[in-house]
């Protein structure tokens, strides 16, 4: 849906490829909210360790990975000019393996002592993620002249390889298949590659193209768009070596946090220089997300040199989650209306709904208000509260409703509207 050398909308995959991931991500989000609601009301007997694992992995895999892989299937042909052949079947395989893998993994975390479940979880999730990475990387490495975005996506996928490998190690150790002598080191690296590498690098890479294009802003500084992604990946690799050799990697973590701080500040600066500053919920999501990213990275930076208490640590996690979700929501509210309109329009439906008919901007604004209240409640309380959990469930339910409405519009137009050849 974007515009850079080699991009082709005609090669874009069918709309179902993206929507199956987005709908699943919303359902996982709703389930997470309901799960936390039960926890807050003391209606489960899970340990806090199991609750933490279930929460983190529902968010990172069920929600974030679903959104991000779905978006990548859609955006790679248009952002990087690469084509994944027969995308419908391939996306379906990744989607099923990932969804089943997440459910098995969550069940394994809940039960805690079933080796077979940990083995199955690592098999399903490993297959889903490695297959998706393979499909995308094998096309990305063929690109002769990379844009900052395509290069950044490549690095984000490399970070996802490390995240997945470390994750499999941890699952097999939890299941008793390996001794796991490096468990705490690998756990630290698993989180570093997942948060700084996969999630952050992907958002940074995509923003280099979409911020300028969606919001008509000045371009990012060339040095930043050229070097930040490779530098962060290099620092993460260096950090792995230091951590595994038992050396301190504090300075490297601080440097990564500082780089992201600068990036987020520049993004806010660019967004305030929009040539047509109209009220748009997707801009608000970006601004809010970047503000949260700044907070999260500031705490990370401080914690690199000073001891921080659990409250500040909690704030760091919530601000990062808030950042990632804000950007995902911003992208969904741009991608879904555009794709629905574009596919129908290209198929020749003269009465194809306009983008604001697919998901009305007011609906996106309502979601933004729900989202900021949700994040505010989670920031203000250090424990799981029924209100924060309920709001989380409402937030994803609202997104699910909007996606459902878009799908209904799409199928209704295909069934009932006249089609012309043009």
């Amino acid at each position: 849906m974007f515009n850079q050398g080699g991009l082709s909308l005609d090669q874009a995959p069918p709309i179902s490829v993206v929507l199956r991931f987005f709908v699943t991500a919303s359902i996982f989000g709703i389930l997470l909210g309901l799960f936390l609601l039960l926890q807050s009301l003391n209606l489960t007997t899970l340990s806090s360790y199991a609750t933490q694992l279930i929460t983190v992995h529902t968010l990172s895999l069920g929600v974030m990975a679903s959104f991000m892989l779905g978006a990548l299937f859609q955006m790679l042909p248009v952002l990087a000019g690469v084509v994944i052949k027969t995308p419908t079947t391939k996306a379906m395989i990744v989607h099923i393996l990932l969804s089943v893998g997440v459910l098995v993994q969550l069940y394994a975390f809940g039960i805690g002592s079933n080796s077979l479940l940990f083995f199955l979880a690592s098999t399903y999730l490993g297959s889903a993620l490695f297959y998706a990475i393979y499909l995308m990387l094998k096309e990305l490495i063929k690109i002769k002249t990379h844009s900052s975005s395509s290069k950044g996506i490549l690095f984000a996928l490399l970070a996802l390889i490390s995240t997945t490998l470390f994750g499999i190690y941890l699952l097999l150790a939890e299941g008793g298949f390996i001794v796991g002598v490096e468990f705490s080191h690998i756990k630290e690296l698993h989180y570093s590659f997942a948060l700084f590498g996969w999630v952050s690098l992907l958002i940074v890479s995509i923003s280099f193209q979409v911020i300028e294009m969606f919001y008509v802003t000045p371009a990012y500084p060339k040095k930043m768009s050229r070097y930040i992604t490779v530098t962060v990946l290099g620092l993460l690799v260096l950090k792995s070596i230091l951590v595994l050799l038992n050396y301190s990697s504090t300075l490297l973590t601080a440097t990564i946090a500082l780089l992201f701080l600068i990036y987020a500040t520049v993004t806010i600066d660019r967004l305030t220089q929009r040539k047509r500053p109209i009220a748009d919920a997707t801009v608000w999501f970006w601004l809010f997300g970047m503000a949260l990213f700044i907070l999260s990275m500031t705490i990370t930076l401080i914690s690199s040199f000073l001891p921080i208490d659990s409250t500040l640590q909690h704030l760091s996690y919530i601000t990062f989650i808030g950042f990632a979700l804000s950007i995902v929501f911003a992208m969904v509210y741009k991608i879904v209306p555009f794709l629905t309109w574009f596919h129908l329009s290209n198929q020749g439906y003269m009465e194809a709904p306009m983008m604001h008919d697919v998901i009305h901007p007011k609906k996106a604004k309502i979601h933004f208000y729900i989202h900021i209240v949700t994040i505010a409640i989670w920031l203000l309380t250090t424990d799981i509260t029924w209100l924060g959990s309920l709001l989380l469930a409402i937030s994803f339910s609202w997104l699910f409703y909007n996606l459902f409405f878009a799908i209904k519009k799409y199928t209704y137009t295909q069934k009932h509207c006249e089609r012309i050849e043009w």
């Binding site: 849906m1 974007f2 515009n3 850079q4 050398g5 080699g6 991009l7 082709s8 909308l9 005609d10 090669q11 248009v78 294009m213 969606f214 919001y215 008509v216 040539k275 047509r276 555009f338 309109w341 574009f342 329009s345 290209n346 003269m350 983008m355 043009w422």
Partner: protein, 83 residues
């Protein structure tokens, strides 16, 4: 021969594509579409090519792209360039 003109330099994505598609659908065979943009609108070009339109693109000294699209097989599109 009618000229459909669009200055997309300050339009956010996907407005240029949306308006362009509207114009292309509306145009008669002898008409042509002229767009100025800050980037080469590859999605639009791919789409128009796929639908059998003829294309001409030119990047001027100010780094602006001039796009001319028509169904007219006889018309020399380069002649319509206005720089």
């Amino acid at each position: 021969m009618k000229k459909y003109f669009l200055d997309a330099r300050e339009l956010a994505h996907p407005e240029p594509l949306r308006i362009s598609l509207e114009y292309l659908k509306e145009m008669r065979d002898e008409d042509y579409f002229y767009m100025i943009n800050i980037r080469e609108p590859i999605p639009l070009l791919e789409l128009a090519k796929g639908k059998g339109y003829r294309l001409f693109t030119h990047k001027d000294n100010n780094q602006n792209w001039h796009i001319i699209i028509s169904k007219n097989q006889q018309q020399n599109l380069e002649e319509l360039l206005d720089v």
